[in-house]
């Protein structure tokens, strides 16, 4: 960022403050690049890249937010004007005044830990990598194979009227593979695997090799073969053991989204929905069993790690649910006073650093970061299986449907394994389970140790109007739940 641009930003800040704004910020996306590769039955059917650049400006005027965005870098003053006009219009129908809270001045930068920037790697090297996996996926029982890679690079400069100047360079690396074939009823079954890790190490192109992602090909191939002759999961109440590949979605949908403060306060009602959690429940609500410890993590190798949020608040690690008790929620700085007002007491001290925007042209909203569940002391996956009399192990989402207040859910999974008297047995296809969020989390009765903990990446969390897709992370151990409704009548 050159001095001329920085000077212009400061001039615009001074101008809108003089016009009556209490706070303002600007995000300048120098480079927002993506590369998407899709190998379909060995053919590179998808081969696309994109580049975005532009600025997003937000101002707070008489307690109301206004936002504007443009790709025309020379139009900064006009962009500020549009944001101010939008805020003035919003202030005509005022609610609880938004407030930026205490001044938080930050300087510095955050860079994702990366050895090899994937955007510097030649296409041939990437397609060779994909083809090597595809070759492993080929087998006589496989009818359809896919391998995909998706890379992101974002270089963002952030400034606000607190005096904050911060630079983020984020690199994300997503990958998945899948195999499909028709089962003995002629209906296609699928097994898939996404790139996941342990939250450590680096997340450049090297991660694909370091994580032995390709090593999953043989496993999903063999598991699909079992699915093809497997019976459908019969309906019934039983224990459910969620592997991290499914547990992450359970956490994402019934803890993460339920604890977003904008949903809690009713700002997402007309689109994404509300939450069964209310502000006065913070510090009081028994969300789950004592084995449940969920937290917003600063997990180094994760798409939910960014250093400084889009309110200018440094990212930190803090508990959300402690031994089953709700102790905090995901928040941005503008809603803290309102949450305390609605609760009738101070339930929150400061922003949770969860204000995030997916692009220069979208305003920041409350978002998940790394919503992790801490490992427990119930041993390894084998230990949990050995301790299970009648249960089902489930992995990898096929479908997810959640009540509008996150109060109930229905999930379908790619694969399930029966557990009888402590022994993992036959495979079931078309497995589903459903429940009500709070009773379900109260039935959490086993939490695996660190050997079971995996950092799962989510590349496609949708929320907000205008709509936004965000990348988040979930570090999840193996979890067992008692008395769960499984299968369909």
């Amino acid at each position: 960022m050159n001095n001329e641009m920085t000077g212009e930003i400061r001039r615009q800040f001074d101008r809108v403050l003089a016009a009556g704004c209490s706070w303002a910020d600007i995000r300048i996306y120098i480079e927002d690049a993506t590369e998407s590769l899709y190998l379909d039955d060995g053919n590179l059917e998808g081969n696309s890249a994109s580049l975005s650049s532009g600025m997003g400006v937000r101002v707070l005027y008489r307690g109301a937010w206004g936002f504007a965005a443009t790709a025309k870098m020379e139009n900064m003053a006009e962009c500020f004007n549009r944001a101010l006009n939008n805020a003035r219009a919003a202030a005509e129908l005022p609610g609880f005044p938004k407030d930026s809270g205490d001044v938080v001045k930050v300087a510095g930068k955050y860079e994702s830990p990366v050895v090899t920037d994937p955007f510097t790697v030649k296409l041939k090297e990437k397609t060779d990598f994909m083809r090597a996996i595809d070759a492993k996926l080929q087998n006589e029982h496989i009818e359809h194979r896919t391998v995909s890679l998706y890379f992101q690079k974002r270089i963002v400069h952030y400034f606000n009227t607190d005096g904050t100047e911060y630079q983020r360079k984020i690199i994300n690396n997503f990958a998945d593979m899948s195999v499909m074939a028709a089962d003995d009823e002629g209906r296609t079954q699928q097994r898939s695997c996404e790139l996941a890790g342990n939250g450590k190490g680096t997340r450049g192109f090297e991660w694909l090799a370091d994580s032995n992602f390709a090593g999953n090909a043989d496993r999903i191939n063999a598991e699909l073969a079992e699915l093809l002759t497997a019976p459908k999961l019969p309906a019934g109440k039983r224990s459910v053991i969620l592997l991290p590949g499914q547990g992450f979605l359970q956490v994402h949908e019934t803890i993460g989204h339920a604890l977003e403060l904008d949903r809690i306060l009713g700002y997402e009602l007309s689109f994404a929905g509300g939450s069964h959690v209310k502000p006065d429940m913070i510090g009081k609500l028994s969300f789950g069993s004592e084995k449940l410890n969920a937290y917003a993590g600063f997990t180094s190798n994760s798409p939910g790690t960014f250093g400084l949020d889009d309110d200018g608040i440094p990212q930190s690690e803090y508990p959300l649910i402690k031994n089953g008790l709700l102790v905090n929620v995901l928040s941005c700085r503008g809603d803290i006073k309102e949450a305390n007002h609605v609760a009738g007491r101070d339930v929150m001290k400061s922003s949770g650093g969860a204000s995030r925007s997916c692009a220069f042209y979208r305003p920041p909203i409350d978002r998940m970061t790394n919503i992790n569940v801490a490992p427990g002391n119930d041993g390894t996956l084998d230990d949990i299986i050995a301790a299970t009399e009648d249960g089902i192990i489930m992995d990898v989402p096929v479908s997810w449907s959640i009540g509008s207040n996150r109060e109930h859910f229905h999930f379908g999974c790619e694969i399930a394994w029966e557990v009888k008297n402590g022994v993992k047995g036959k495979v079931f296809k078309n497995s589903t389970y459903h429940g009500h969020s709070l009773p379900f989390w109260h039935n959490l009765d086993k939490v695996g140790d660190i050997t079971t903990w995996k950092l799962q990446q989510v590349a496609n969390c949708g929320k907000g109007e205008p709509n936004q897709i965000m990348e988040v992370g979930h570090g999840i151990p193996v979890m067992r739940f008692a008395d769960v409704d499984t299968g369909e009548e």
């Binding site: 890249a49 994109s50 443009t70 790709a71 109060e407 109007e465």
Partner: protein
């Protein structure tokens, strides 16, 4: 018409591509979007975005490559840079084992039929005034949330295959107001959608809410029973299920891969009740009417289900190339889907009178497909759902989960309203993509499986 400077730049780039022997499609998407978001009876956020996206797809023999930019597209250098990057991607790419189908604009088109300049002049202040009127019409004890998005979208497509260009300029808007009783927990919603400024009106929203309010105010929430029962579905729910039905049953690629619930069927097989007709029709006045797809194909009426029978599958360019089929004009994120009206007397009161005792589900939240190969869907009731007793609304319905197959639901239809309703299913993920589905005001299904019920709304 598209800004003449930008058009000239794109056409010059097309000329350069031809000189270099590059087969390319050059696509521009420009939007001017404005939105206010309501929360707790206030404007919680007001936004505006002016965005231009330019993308290039290159086909070279059996190789493909693409590149897109979201930036200030104001010079030939920028456009040529995107073209060159797409071409480099293509040249470095391995060959497919089938021949890809390049985009081609079939007919020179400039379409303004969905454009209302008054809609574009709608300001955040105007929207705030309308919303304020709605809110002030109702008692203070209720809390309002919602959103109102409006804007204009321009798309322009040129390819090196011929000299034709396809252009479309469209205005659109969608308003959703949700009124909540924060103590009882219920929510009543009112929606409006359209291409014109005149499609939006505070009085209509207030009237819609008031029509349901006394039931909500005077009756506790009703928890229905798990199991099969008759259901009257309202227009948003029909649109949601229709979207899932198309996704799960009528995408050529999924059908070819035996992932569709129609994969074991052939055209002509009965899927749904004989009264069901589903098609894509850009001439339908309810929809936004896309005259061409983004591969340049002219769009026309396309049957999916005719008199209950399987009639068509969507093949985009890539799928058509892979499976040796002809593209159907669906290289487009949005369609003009119609669930045809039937012969049942319009008016919800007539639907309720026909059904006697049932539940009414006008909207479904977070629908998904647990078993796509069987067309099994699951989702839960949301706004405005009711218990129906003796042909009248009796109580608001607590959150109710429907888990059943599309084949059962659309197969058990006993009545389809003769009145159509436009339902906005637009999204702004990535870019402004206006889309409306035309559906009947109601359908009555004799037997739908309720799999779960909650004790809250």
């Amino acid at each position: 018409m598209i800004d003449s400077k930008i058009k000239d730049i794109i056409l010059k780039a097309r000329g350069e591509a031809r000189k270099q022997g590059i087969t390319a499609a050059l696509f521009l998407h420009r939007e001017d979007s404005n939105l206010i978001r309501l929360g707790n009876s206030a404007v919680a956020l007001s936004t505006s975005e002016e965005l231009t996206r330019f993308s290039v797809e290159v086909v070279n023999g059996r190789r493909v490559g693409a590149y897109s930019i979201n930036a200030d597209v104001n010079s030939l250098d920028i456009v040529m840079d995107a073209l060159n990057r797409a071409n480099e991607n293509c040249l470095e790419s391995p060959e497919l084992d089938y021949q890809p189908i390049p985009s081609e604009v079939e007919e020179d088109t400039a379409d303004y039929t969905g454009y209302d300049p008054q809609m574009i002049s709608l300001t955040a202040e105007d929207k705030t005034t309308v919303c304020s009127k709605i809110i002030k019409s109702m008692p203070d004890k209720y809390s309002f949330s919602g959103s109102w998005s409006s804007g204009e979208t321009e798309v322009f497509l040129a390819t090196t295959v011929n000299d034709n260009c396809a252009y479309r300029k469209l205005s659109d808007g969608v308003l959703k107001i949700v009124m909540k009783n924060n103590i009882a927990g219920w929510e009543i919603a009112a929606d409006q959608t359209g291409k014109n400024r005149a499609d939006f009106c505070a009085d209509a929203a207030v009237s819609h809410i008031n029509a349901l309010l006394s039931i909500y105010e005077n009756n506790p929430g009703y928890q229905t029973v798990i199991g099969k029962q008759p259901v009257v579905f309202g227009p948003d729910a029909i649109a949601e299920m229709l979207t899932m039905a198309l996704w799960g049953g009528f995408i050529g690629r999924y059908w070819e891969e035996k992932r569709a619930f129609t994969s074991s069927n052939s055209f002509g097989d009965m899927l749904f009740a004989p009264s069901v007709n589903i098609y894509d029709d850009p001439a339908c006045p309810d929809t936004f009417g896309y005259p061409f797809d983004f591969a340049g194909r002219k769009r026309s009426k396309f049957d999916f289900v005719k008199d209950g029978a399987f009639a068509g599958l969507i093949y985009d360019n890539a799928t058509a190339a892979k499976y040796g089929k002809k593209p159907t004009g669906h290289d487009i994120g949005t369609m003009d889907i119609v669930f045809a009206t039937g012969d049942a007397v319009p008016g919800l009161e007539n639907a309720l009178a026909q059904v006697g005792d049932a539940i009414y589900i006008p909207q479904l939240h977070y629908l998904h497909l647990p078993d796509p190969t069987r067309g099994q869907i699951t989702g839960s009731s949301r706004f405005n759902a009711m218990r129906v007793v003796g042909g009248k609304f009796a109580a608001p319905l607590l959150s109710t989960r429907v888990t059943d197959t599309i084949l059962n639901i659309f197969g058990s239809i006993t009545a389809i309203s003769a009145k159509s309703v436009p339902i906005n299913i637009s999204s702004t993920y990535g870019r402004r993509s206006p889309e409306v589905i035309s559906v009947p005001e109601y359908i009555i299904c004799s037997e739908v499986r309720i799999s779960d019920v909650a004790d809250s709304f």
